[in-house]
Symmetry: C2
Subunit: 101 residues, 2 copies
């Protein structure tokens, strides 16, 4: 739990190269609380390989139309797509059948 994989040493330009995500997106996902880069003394963001993996997952989810809000829960709960979908579906069904109109 403190391997090279977790050291925050990669600048945003390289993260962009590695993930294909625009810098705008990368910064936005931080703003939304999905990733937490560190900063150099002068404010430049530094990411870890773990952050890069998370970003790849985020990219997949976003392609499926999942919103950042849900992805955030996802990351926190460590649930996979299928689980989340089941839950969303169940939620919808509950809303549909149980809500006292």
């Amino acid at each position: 739990m403190h391997s090279y994989k977790d050291k925050k040493v990669i600048t945003i330009g390289i993260v962009h190269e590695l993930t294909g995500l625009s810098e705008r997106k990368i910064r936005y996902y931080e703003e939304r609380g999905l990733i937490f880069p560190e900063r150099t003394r002068r404010g430049t963001r530094k990411y870890s390989f773990t952050d890069i993996e998370i970003l790849m997952k985020i990219a997949d989810k976003r392609e499926e139309g999942v919103q950042t809000n849900e992805i955030k829960q996802d990351i926190h709960n460590k649930k996979n797509n299928i689980d989340v979908r089941k839950e969303m579906l169940r939620g919808q069904l509950n809303a549909h059948f149980k809500r006292p109109h």
Copy 2:
């Protein structure tokens, strides 16, 4: 042999933070053939964690007064300090006693 440790993703500023070496020194050791960073498309140097470890070893050797040339052999031959010193000593003795005149 292609783990995170070997991926070249760290810019020279971060390498400086991590090793304490000046950027001048870091570039010089490359010029001398001790390290081999990759480059981004636009020419910025990228280092790996392995490079950083090598740089730390170089720093130690330099403090002991070892020249870049010798350090280069060292890295190539994967010999440790003591071995090298024995060899240097033997070389000096040879030079002293065997040289005609």
